[in-house]
C-alpha cells in the first residue's frame, strides 16, 4: 500500500510535510483576518504584533518558550495515552494535582537544591501519575470508561484544590488576601538558563522528555506492549501482555507527564506558588496539541511550539491592535482543522502528491470502536 510512498523522493516528502502545514497556517491567517477586519481592526497590525510578540526580541522568545514548555509535556501525556488506546481528557486535573503536590514538597521540605529540585519535580510526577492511575484502575478493574472517569476526576481535583487554597484552606497562604499558596523555597525553584530573565530550564526537560517518550514508544519493549494494547487488546492478551496492568501503567505515565507539566509551571515561574487561575486550560490545549502533532512525540514538539508562540504573541496583538485574545483560539481551531483535513489545502493550492497514511492510529478506540 505505502509502496507508492517509498517511491517518493526525499524532496517531495519534505514538500508534503513542510509546505502543506505552512499553507494550512497561511490559510487560517487569511480567514481570521477577515474576522479581524469585520471587527474594525487592522489584521496587518494584529499579525505583525502577534509575530513580534512571539519572536520580536529575546524576552518575547522567552515567553514563547515558556508557553511551549507545558504544552509539550502535556501533549506528550495525551499522545502517549492515545497510543495505548486510552483517551485521557484528565490532563487538566492531573496538572492541577501535580502543581499542588509540588507546592507541598517545595514549601515544606528543607534540603539543598540538588536534592530539593528533583524531589519536588518527582512529587509532581507521582501525584499526577497516581491521580491518573485511578481512572486507569477503574477501567482495568470495572471497565469504567476513562472518558467519563477522567472528566469526573478533573472536576474533583480542581474543586478540592480550589478549596485547599480558598477561605481557611489548609494550603492557603495566611498572610495574603489572595487565594494562593506560599511560594516555594528558593531551593525548590528551577534554575534560570539566562539570568535576569524568566527563562528557566523547563524547556530542556520538555525536549528531553519528547525524545524519551519517542524512544519509549518506538524503541523499547514497553513501547511495543503499549502500542499492542492500543491497537489490539486480544492480540495483546494472546502474546502474554498483562493488559490491565498496562492500562493502569499507561494512564500513570500519561498523568505523570501532566503532573510534571504542572510542577514545572510552579517551580519555574515567579511567584513560584499556586493561585486560583493558575494553569487553567492547559489540559485541553494539550489535547489539541497532541492531535495536531499526530500523536507523534516529535510532532507534538512542533505543534506545542506553534500554540505557545500564538499564546505568547497574543499579548502584543491585544495591546497594539486591540484584538481580543479569543482571536488566538479561533486561529488555533482553524489551523488544527486545515492541518488535519489537508485535502482542503491540497485542493486550494493544487498539490498533486499523495500523503502517506501508514500506521494511522485511531484516536477514538477508547470508545470500543477502533481496532477490530
Amino acid at each position: 500500500m505505502d509502496n507508492q510512498l517509498n517511491k517518493l523522493n526525499p524532496i517531495k516528502i519534505i514538500y508534503i510535510s513542510v509546505i502543506v502545514p505552512i499553507l494550512a497556517i497561511f490559510t487560517a491567517l487569511i480567514i481570521s483576518s477577515v474576522v479581524i477586519i469585520l471587527s474594525g481592526s487592522n489584521p496587518l497590525i494584529a499579525y505583525s504584533a502577534l509575530a513580534e510578540g512571539a519572536f520580536g526580541n529575546l524576552n518575547n522568545w522567552i515567553e514563547t518558550i515558556l508557553k511551549t514548555t507545558p504544552l509539550i509535556i502535556g501533549g506528550l501525556g495525551v499522545a502517549l495515552a492515545f497510543r495505548g488506546g486510552l483517551f485521557n481528557i484528565g490532563v487538566e486535573g492531573q496538572i492541577f494535582v501535580g502543581s499542588i503536590a509540588t507546592v507541598i514538597i517545595g514549601t515544606t521540605l528543607k534540603a539543598p537544591a540538588i536534592i530539593h529540585i528533583p524531589l519536588t519535580l518527582l512529587a509532581g510526577v507521582l501525584a499526577g501519575a497516581v491521580w491518573a492511575a485511578i481512572p486507569g484502575y477503574l477501567k482495568a478493574r470495572f471497565g469504567a470508561h476513562e472518558v467519563i472517569t477522567t472528566i469526573m476526576t478533573n472536576y474533583i481535583a480542581t474543586r478540592i484544590i480550589t478549596w485547599s487554597i480558598g477561605v481557611n484552606g489548609p494550603l492557603r497562604k495566611t498572610t495574603s488576601f489572595v487565594p494562593e499558596t506560599n511560594s516555594l523555597l528558593d531551593t525548590a525553584r528551577l534554575p534560570l538558563m539566562i539570568s535576569d530573565t524568566r527563562l528557566h530550564i523547563g524547556i530542556v526537560i520538555a525536549l528531553i522528555l519528547a525524545i524519551v517518550v519517542y524512544i519509549l514508544l518506538f524503541r523499547t519493549t514497553l513501547g511495543i506492549e503499549i502500542r499492542t494494547v492500543g491497537l489490539n487488546i486480544n492480540a495483546a492478551k494472546y502474546c502474554g501482555i498483562k493488559v490491565n496492568r498496562n492500562i493502569v501503567l499507561i494512564m500513570a505515565i500519561s498523568g505523570g507527564l501532566a503532573g510534571l507539566a504542572g510542577a514545572i509551571q510552579v517551580m519555574g515561574l515567579s511567584p513560584y506558588n499556586f493561585t486560583a487561575g493558575f494553569n487553567v486550560g492547559y489540559g485541553f490545549d494539550s489535547l489539541a496539541v497532541a492531535v495536531l502533532g499526530n500523536i507523534n512525540p516529535i510532532g507534538v514538539v512542533f505543534s506545542a511550539f506553534l500554540f505557545g508562540a500564538m499564546d505568547a504573541g497574543a499579548r502584543l496583538m491585544q495591546l497594539r491592535a486591540k484584538v481580543p485574545v479569543d482571536m488566538i483560539t479561533i486561529l488555533q481551531g482553524l489551523i488544527l482543522m486545515f492541518v488535519a483535513a489537508n485535502q482542503i489545502i491540497r485542493g486550494i493550492y493544487r498539490i498533486q502528491i499523495q500523503d502517506k497514511k501508514a500506521d494511522k492510529v485511531n484516536l477514538s478506540q477508547g470508545w470500543g470502536g477502533g481496532s477490530k
Binding site: N3, T221, L222, I224, R227, T228, S371
Partner: protein, 520 residues
C-alpha cells in the same frame, strides 16, 4: 440440465479491475446458465472476490460488460444487483452481531406496520420472522429468528446469510467461500440446500478452495490465476490434481505423505480438565488426553463443542475450573500466556485477525510478538531493530510470505499470507508443544500444502502437536492419534489407521455406541 443453446442468465465479458499496484481482474470472461452451479477456483488473491464484488455492485469494473438475461446492465450498487435478482453471500460474513436474525434479514428492505411514517414507521418484526420461518422450512434452514447473531455458531450464521439472500428474492446466488468455516456435516447439509435451490430454479456461482467439494457439486468449473481466466471445465473432464495444477500453475501434493511417527516420552498431559465459557457455563467437562513428543494429536469435532475454550485454557487465555495440565511433568495449570510461551508452548489461534496479529503493525513487528522481550530482539528493555529486521527478512524468505516489504502492515496481506506470518512466528523458536487451531481455514491449496508441511516438519523435529480442526481431511491427513470432542468431552480416541470420515462423523454427531455405528 444446461445445454449451450439456452442463453446464459449471467454473462461477463472482459471484466478488468485495477487496484493501486494490482491488476486484480484481467479481461475475465464467465457465463452462468440457469439452474447451474458454477464453481470459481483460485489462489488467495487470484481475483475471485473482486470479480464477485463487481457483479454485486460493490466495486465497479474499469472495463468490461455484464449481461443479465442477455441484456447489458450497469450495476452501480447492491440495490441494482438485487433488483436484477443477484444476491451474494460474502467471504467475510456480513451480519451485525448485536442484532437479531430478523433485524439482519430485514435490514435495507424493512417492513413496517401501523402509521405510514416512511423511515420512522414501526418495524414489523413479527411478520418478517414469520416469513423467515416459512422460508427456512421451505429450504430446511432452521434458525431462531429472535436469536442475536453473536450467539450463533458459524454454521448458523452461514444459514442466516443464505436466508438473507433468498429473502431478498435473489435468482442468481453468489457464494464466496461459504464452506470455509463449515464442518463436514454442515457442508453436506449445505450441499443438499444448494441442490434444492437449483431445483427451485436458482443459479449459483460458488467459490471455494476445496477441490473435493468442487468435483462433488459443480456443473462447471472456472479457474482464475493472478486475475486471469485459466480455463473452464467440468467435473467429468478434470481431476483434483488437474484443478490444483491449473490454480497454482505447478504440481501440488494434495495429501502430503508423512513418515511414520516416532513418538517418544509424554510431553503434554491434560487430566480431567473443566472450563467455563463467558456465560459461566461448563463447556469443557473432564477432558483428559496426552501427547507424546513427535506425534500429532488431532481433536476433531463440530464447532462449538468446547474446542475453543479448551484451547484457550491450555494457552493461558482462560482459567480452568477444574483439573490440571502437565508439560514435561511439571504442573502448568492456569499459568498465564507469557509463562506458557516461555515454557515452550506455541499457539496458532483460531481467529488470525482477532488474536494472532496486530493488523496495524508491520510484518516485522508481528513476527516478534511472542519474543520481543527476549534477546536478540531486546536487551535491557530496549529493542534492537537490526535483529528484528534480519529476523523478518529470514522468515519472509523461509516461509515464503508474499509481501512488498517487511514494513508492510499485515492488514494488507492476504489471509493466506497472514496465516503464514503466524506460523512462521510460532514455529521459529524452540518449542515443546505446538497447538494449532483451524490452521488452514479459508486458505487455498498452495497455502494449505505449505502449512501442513510445516506442521509435519515440526513433529519430526520431536515437537508434540495438538491439532484442533473441523476439517476431517485435515485431521485424517495430519494426525497420528485422533480424539473426537463432543459436548465438552472427548468421547472417543483412536489411531488414525483405524479412523475414517464416516466413523469420525458418527462420533462427532454425538453417537457413542459402537454397535449402532455398525448397524448404520
Amino acid at each position: 440440465m444446461k445445454n449451450n443453446n439456452i442463453e446464459p442468465i449471467l454473462k461477463i465479458e472482459n471484466i478488468t479491475k485495477r487496484f493501486p499496484g494490482v491488476l486484480a481482474n484481467d479481461r475475465i470472461c464467465l457465463d452462468l446458465y440457469p439452474q447451474e452451479i458454477h464453481c470459481l477456483l483460485g489462489e488467495n488473491g487470484a481475483g475471485k472476490s473482486t470479480l464477485m464484488n463487481i457483479i454485486y455492485g460493490l466495486y465497479t469494473q474499469d472495463e468490461g460488460i455484464i449481461y443479465v438475461k442477455g441484456i447489458e446492465v450497469e450495476i452501480k450498487n447492491p440495490i441494482d444487483a438485487l433488483r436484477l435478482g443477484i444476491g451474494m453471500v460474502h467471504q467475510h460474513f456480513m451480519l451485525i452481531p448485536v442484532m437479531t436474525v430478523t433485524e439482519n434479514l430485514m435490514l435495507g428492505q424493512e417492513k413496517t406496520t401501523g402509521l405510514k411514517l416512511g423511515k420512522l414507521s414501526k418495524l414489523d418484526r413479527s411478520t418478517v420472522s414469520a416469513e423467515l420461518q416459512e422460508l427456512a422450512s421451505k429450504y430446511g434452514l432452521s434458525v431462531n429468528p429472535n436469536a442475536y447473531i453473536e450467539d450463533l455458531s458459524v454454521g448458523e450464521e452461514q444459514r442466516v446469510e443464505i436466508l438473507k439472500v433468498l429473502y431478498k428474492g435473489a435468482e442468481i446466488l453468489i457464494l464466496d467461500e461459504p464452506t470455509a468455516v463449515l464442518t463436514p456435516q454442515e457442508t453436506d447439509e449445505f450441499f443438499n440446500i444448494l441442490k434444492l435451490l437449483v431445483k427451485q430454479g436458482k443459479s449459483i456461482i460458488f467459490i471455494t478452495h476445496k477441490l473435493k467439494e468442487v468435483l462433488e457439486i459443480a456443473d462447471r468449473i472456472t479457474v482464475l490465476r493472478n486475475g486471469k481466466t485459466v480455463g473452464t471445465t467440468t467435473p467429468k473432464e478434470t481431476s483434483m490434481h488437474k484443478l490444483a495444477e491449473m490454480m497454482v500453475g505447478r504440481e501440488v501434493l494434495l495429501n502430503i505423505e508423512k513418515g511414520q511417527p516416532k513418538p517418544k516420552e509424554k510431553v503434554f498431559e491434560v487430566s480431567d480438565l473443566s472450563v467455563m465459557d463467558n456465560r459461566k457455563i461448563n463447556v469443557v467437562n473432564g477432558v483428559s488426553f496426552f501427547i507424546r513428543a513427535g506425534e500429532i494429536y488431532g481433536i476433531a469435532g463440530v464447532q462449538g463443542n468446547g474446542q475453543k475454550e479448551l484451547v484457550e485454557a491450555l494457552t493461558g487465555l482462560r482459567k480452568a475450573a477444574r483439573g490440571n495440565v502437565k508439560l514435561l511433568g511439571n504442573d502448568v495449570t492456569n499459568e498465564d500466556a507469557r509463562s506458557l510461551t516461555l515454557t515452550g508452548i506455541a499457539h496458532v489461534p483460531e481467529d488470525r485477525q482477532k488474536h494472532g496479529l496486530v493488523m496495524g503493525f508491520s510484518i516485522d513487528l508481528n513476527l516478534i510478538l511472542q519474543t520481543y522481550f527476549q534477546s536478540p530482539f531486546s536487551n535491557l528493555g530496549f529493542i534492537n531493530l537490526d535483529s528484528i529486521h534480519e529476523n523478518a527478512n529470514q522468515l519472509v524468505k523461509k516461509f515464503d510470505i508474499r509481501t512488498p516489504s517487511i514494513f508492510t502492515p499485515v492488514m494488507s496481506l492476504s489471509g493466506g499470507n497472514q496465516q503464514k506470518v503466524i506460523i512462521a512466528r510460532e514455529l521459529n523458536r524452540p518449542i515443546q508443544l505446538l497447538i494449532v487451531n483451524q490452521p488452514t481455514r479459508g486458505l487455498d491449496v498452495g497455502s494449505i500444502e505449505f502449512i501442513h508441511q510445516q506442521i509435519i516438519v515440526a513433529r519430526d523435529k520431536g515437537v508434540a502437536v495438538l491439532l484442533v480442526s473441523a476439517e476431517l481431511d485435515e485431521i485424517l491427513s495430519l494426525s497420528d492419534r485422533i480424539g473426537v470432542m463432543f459436548n465438552g468431552k472427548i468421547v472417543t480416541e483412536m489411531n488414525t489407521s483405524e479412523a475414517d470420515r464416516a466413523k469420525l462423523g458418527f462420533y462427532m454427531a454425538g453417537f457413542s455406541d459402537e454397535k449402532m455405528f455398525h448397524k448404520e
